[in-house]
Structures are given as C-alpha cells and as structure tokens.
C-alpha cells in the first residue's frame, strides 16, 4: 500500500474513477498538460487523453456551467476551480442551477457533478488564495459539501463525490496537500458522504473540526491528554449534509464542546453546529460552547498569516476555558 500525500490521494482517486467509469471527465484551468498548479490532476491527460481531461479557458462561470451541462447529459464531470477565492464566480451556476436542476425538472434532469477546489490558508500564497468558503455553500439546498482532512479521507470522499447522483463541492485544504503521508489503498472504496467521523473518543471535552484544522485539533487533544484531559475529536468532513449524531452523542457524554474552523467566526459553519447544540443538546451542555476560528477580518497577506490562523494553541486555550466553566 503506497504512502501518499493528500494531493496524491486526490490524483489516485481521479485515476481510479476515470479508469473505472468512462463517463468521468476532468476539466479546469491548467488541469491537463501541466497536471494542475498543485499537480492534483497529474498524469491524467497523458493517460486518458485531452477529450476527457480538458484544459478550459480561464473562465470560472464557464467551468461550472460546463459541468452542469455535462452532468445533465449523463457525464460525471469533475471540475477544478484553481483556488477557492475564485469560486465566487461559480455561485450563480452552483446555487441557481447545479443544486436546483433536479428539483426544477422533477428529476427529469440531474446534475451529478463535482467541483473540486483547494481552500484555506497556511501556505503563505498571494492575495485571494486563502479563502475558506464552506459556510457559504453549506446552506444551499441540493448541494453537498465535503472537506477532507487526510489522504485517506481525500481518496474516499472524492470517490463518493464522483459517484453521488447530485452535485458535490469538494474543498481541499492546501495546507494539508503535502503536510504528511499515510497509506491509502487504491481499492476504489468510497467513504460515505454525510457522515462525521469520530477520530478519537473522549469523556471530558468534545473537539469538533474539519479540513485543515483537524491536525491542529488532534495536536491539541494530544496535549490535553498529557494534561489528563480526555478529549474526543470529531472530523465533520461533510459540511452538507451535516451529521450531528456523533457530535450530539459525544457532547451528551462530555458536556463541553469546542468547535474549530479556519474561516472567520461570524456566520461560519461552526455557528450551525453550535446552534444545533443549543437546540438539541442544551441539556447536556455543562459549559458555553466555544468557537475557535479565524478572526472576523480579511485573511491577511503572508506576513501576518501566522497571527490569523487558528492553531493548536488557540484550541488549547479555548479548551481550558471551556473546562474551567462551571
């Protein structure tokens, strides 16, 4: 079993599914000849040809619209938007069209498309390359949104996204692309969509995170363990649909919850989880819910990035606050 990075897991999943299903096509800017700016589509065009691995003009609305049309005609397009900061130009296609086509036509036409996009900060890139827009897509009825936090998750969730009969947005944290390796079998096994994964059980505190914040959160849980605090860690993975069960169950046990995400706090997706706790977990809560997030300001240029990004230490500080609360 190969030890691979997250971005290699993406590539592996694409290779797998393109080989397995002739209707899968990949499209986007620089995805073909160059293999993508992060090399996520490496080797695909060579193997599957320019008919199925398509370098498009520089036009995000077009890319998303092409995917809608391809999907409606029975293909399984996997479109790439080069960075999440350029996703906004696809919102009319995603919100008004991709997510609604099935409902608008009573199921006559469907839209089994995937839109992949690198997201988040942490790699000190130029302006507009560090956005975390998951909350903006989380509430779009008819759209699924997943954020992998490991090579294995990236492989399994991307396969699931491609096979899903409805549109799925896959946000891939750039900071994790090459952050570490793990063994991932190229066995074509998809992970379920719509499921939160309990990475670690715990009895004192529930830490909830996704994407790039999962490693930071696990690191915080390690330190807490060293302090004698048993912290559960849950990787939400699927922003939409959200699977609250494991979170509610864990908080029923711990009574304390810290939600960690990189996007700004206000109207971030952590709000939805906290709201669900206030609705369905209130009686379990022994302490105020805490959100550890990016600040509610514009993601700074690289020199200040370190001050912006939530990290292990910020998670830890919040955990201590929540543990101390009566």
């Amino acid at each position: 079993m190969p030890e691979i990075t997250l971005v290699q897991a993406v590539t592996m999943a694409l290779h797998h599914e393109m080989a397995a299903d002739g209707s899968v096509v990949v499209l986007g800017e620089d995805v073909g000849a160059s293999g993508g700016v992060f090399r996520a589509t490496d080797g695909l065009q060579e193997r599957f040809g320019p008919d199925r691995v398509i370098d498009t003009p520089l036009a995000e609305t077009l890319i998303a619209g092409l995917a809608v049309g391809l999907a409606a005609e029975g293909m399984r397009p996997v479109a790439e938007i080069q960075f999440s900061g350029f996703l906004y130009s696809t919102f009319d296609q995603l919100i008004n069209h991709a997510s609604r086509l099935r409902n608008r036509t009573r199921g006559r036409l469907t839209c089994p498309m995937v839109l992949r996009s690198p997201c988040g900060g942490g790699i000190k890139p130029p302006e507009h390359h560090s956005d975390s827009p998951e909350a903006l897509l989380a509430g779009v009825p008819g759209l699924k949104v997943v954020v992998p936090s490991s090579p294995a998750a990236a492989y399994g969730l991307l396969l699931a996204a491609i096979r899903d009969p409805d549109p799925v947005v896959v946000l891939e944290p750039t900071r994790l692309y090459r952050a570490g390796k793990e063994e991932v079998a190229d066995d074509g096994a998809a992970l379920p969509l719509g499921m939160s994964f309990v990475l670690r059980d715990g009895t004192d505190l529930t830490l909830v995170a996704w994407g790039g914040m999962v490693p930071e959160t696990l690191a915080a849980a390690d330190e807490l363990a060293a302090e004698g605090v048993s912290a559960a860690v849950i990787d939400v993975a699927s922003i939409a649909p959200l699977d609250m069960e494991p979170i509610l169950e864990s908080v029923a046990r711990t009574g304390r919850c810290v939600i960690v995400h990189e996007a700004a706090r206000i109207a971030g997706f952590g709000a939805e989880i906290a709201a669900r706790l206030a609705e369905e977990g209130l009686n379990s809560l022994l302490a105020p819910v805490a959100r550890v997030t990016g600040w509610d300001t514009i993601f700074p240029l690289p020199r200040l990035e370190g001050y912006y990004m939530p990290d292990r230490r910020r998670v830890l500080a919040a955990a201590h606050r929540v543990l101390e609360a009566a």
């Binding site: 003009p57 391809l70 409902n103 036509t105 959200l242």
Partner: protein, 358 residues
C-alpha cells in the same frame, strides 16, 4: 444576403413584410405547402400566449412572458433541429418549445408556478427555461461538450435575449464554445427591449451577431420575423455544428410587441408609435400573405386553424385549471436522490403542518 453593419455580418431575409419573396427561397421552402406547418405552429403559439395573458388578467395564472411578435424565431429555429438535439431556452421560447413537443399544458403549469411544467413529457433532454438571464449558455456549452466527447452527431441550440448578450456568462459560453469547437448554435432573440432597456443601451456594437467575432466563429443576422429566413439560417448553422465545424451565433431581429411580462406596462417606457410600426412587420400576417398569394391558404383554412388552436388551448387551459397543486411533500421529493435525515424530518413536519391546517 446584404451586409448591414459591422465586420462583414450577413443579414438574411427571404420574405418581405408584405409576404412577397424578395429572392429565391431556399430548397425547403420552395413548395409553399411545406411552410404550412410553420404557419400553424406560429398561430398555435400565439393562441396559447393570448390565452395565458387572459388567464393572468383574470387571476388564474402567474406572471407570464408572451412571445407575441417573435413566433417566427422560435418556430424557425426549432424546425431546424432534430428530436435528439437539445434545446436550451430562455423564458420566452414557448414557440420553439411547442414545436419540440412541450405541451401547452406544461407551459401553463410552469407559469402557474408548478414544477411539473418543466417535466416535459416530449423532449426529455431539453432544458427548462432559464429565468436567470444569460446564465444558461455555459450549461448549453456543457451539453455540447458532452456530445463532442462522445462523438455524437447531435447539436445544442441555445437562445438568449438581446439583454442577455451583456452578461459575462453569455460571453464565456460563446468564447469557450469557439475555443473548444463545440456543436452549439446560439440564437440571440433581439426583440429590441430588455424590460425597459432598448437594445442600444446594451452595447455599442452595431449588431449583436458580431459578438461572434470576439469568440472567433461566424455570426450572422436574420430577419426574425421571416420564418423562412430563420429556418434557413438556423438549418445551416445546425448542420455546420453537426458536421463538427463548430459554433455559430445567429441574431434574429424581431420585436416584442407585448409587455415584458404580464406584470409590466411597456407604455411607461416606449412609444405606441414604435409598436404600431412594428406591427406591420410581424411574422404571422407576413407568412399568411405569402401562403395566400401562393394559393395554398384560404379563408377556410385560416378559420379552421384558428378554431383548432382555440379548441386545443381551451382543452389545455381546462386541464390546467383542473390540475390540483402538488402536495407539500413535493417540495422535498426532488431535492436530491436521497434526502438527508434532517431534511427527511422536515418533510414529515411539512406534511403534518399542511394536514393540520387543511
């Protein structure tokens, strides 16, 4: 073909407003009998539009966008397509849709606010109308791309209004279709207005056909009130696309004789005189004059047609009015292949709520 403006943009017309052929008709139109189906289709659509407007006025239909005066564009372009082609319409394309097998009942249901109106029993792969102006051309390009990848000899035809040509998504689509050499024909239905905005407000371009120059493929203008010209130009464009020679942009110059929709009052922003002048160019009486002069259409034919159309539309209207709304769970049943549990619970709640209120 005369070049009227811009960089070598051809303009095609065969039949003058008075019904006379100005030049040799194309092959398919030489036998005037062959034009009768086109004529019938235009009258049928106008009958439906009139009824829909009347239903709205009496509070029995939602907002409706009539294509009064533009019937030749829709019928002409639809007649250029095969069943297996895909039509991607804007919201004023009932003339083309009816030709392709969308039923008057479906049109009425849609504008009544019933999703079943987009579940076309006939052209299963045609897209629903796009209320969002100009957002559908990229999707049309995607359908065309699927056809190209699969090496099918099918074609996509997409219509947009003159206003829609100002949208970036329209441009991204035609430019991308050119770059990828897709089997896509885009017809700009230039009816002179985008709600209150006259055509000149949209662009300094002398023609809308010349938008194709930016995309690197042919663009041409056609008299959109001459159904023979529309059919001819679209046939050629469709065959080019089918032959793998890439996209064409067709600007059909016509006029919106009615209000923008039933909730608009065009007298607020345009001259009655302009509208009166345009009535003299409208497509139905033009083709009728042609057919009558050719001796293939009589007063009796006309009366028979009007009666048949009225009867058909009467039936459709009755059927529409007798169609009960969908139940509340219909809001959820096509959201996605499988409802997430939370939403499933909401579905049950909505059903309970409706039952409790009934």
């Amino acid at each position: 073909m005369t070049t009227i403006a811009g960089p070598d943009i051809p303009h095609t017309r065969f039949i003058a407003p008075d019904g006379r052929a100005e030049r040799d008709l194309p092959e398919f139109a030489r036998d005037p009998e062959a034009l009768i189906p086109l004529y019938r289709a235009m009258v049928r659509c106008r009958t439906l539009d009139a009824r829909a407007v009347a239903l709205h006025r009496t509070g029995r239909l939602g907002t409706y966008a009539s294509c009064l005066g533009q019937e030749a564009v829709g019928v002409g372009l639809a007649s250029a397509l095969r069943d297996e082609d895909v039509f991607v319409p804007s919201y004023r394309e009932q003339a083309a849709q009816l030709w392709r097998g969308v039923t008057p009942l479906e049109v009425l249901l849609y504008w009544a606010g019933d999703e079943r109106g987009s579940d076309y029993a006939g052209p299963r792969r045609d897209f629903p109308v796009s209320i969002t102006v100009g957002e559908h051309p990229p999707q049309a390009a995607g359908i065309a791309l699927a056809m190209k990848i699969r090496r099918e000899r099918r074609v996509v035809l997409c219509t947009v209004g003159d206003g829609a040509t100002s949208k970036g998504s329209f441009y991204e689509a035609i430019n991308g279709a050119g770059a990828m050499c897709l089997p896509l024909v885009t017809v700009v239905v230039n009816n002179g207005w985008a709600i209150s905005a006259p055509r000149t407000l949209q662009s300094a371009a002398a023609t809308l056909a010349q938008k194709a120059v930016a995309a690197g493929f042919p663009g041409e203008q056609v008299d959109g009130n001459d159904v023979v010209a529309v059919a001819d130009v679209c046939r050629r464009a469709v065959e080019r696309a089918r032959a793998g020679e890439g996209p064409t942009l067709v600007e059909a110059v016509t006029y919106r004789l009615g209000d923008h929709t039933t909730v608009d009052d065009a007298r607020r922003y345009r001259d009655d005189a302009e509208v009166s002048r345009q009535w003299e160019l409208e497509p139905i009486s033009r083709l009728r004059s042609h057919l009558v002069a050719a001796g293939v259409w009589t007063k009796e034919d006309e009366e028979g047609l009007l009666a048949a159309c009225a009867a058909e539309i009467d039936r459709a209207a009755e059927e529409y009015l007798a169609t009960p709304p969908l139940p509340p769970e219909a809001m959820f049943d096509h959201l996605c292949a499988e409802l997430p549990p939370d939403v499933e619970a909401q579905r049950a709640e909505a059903v309970r709520e409706a039952a409790a209120r009934a």
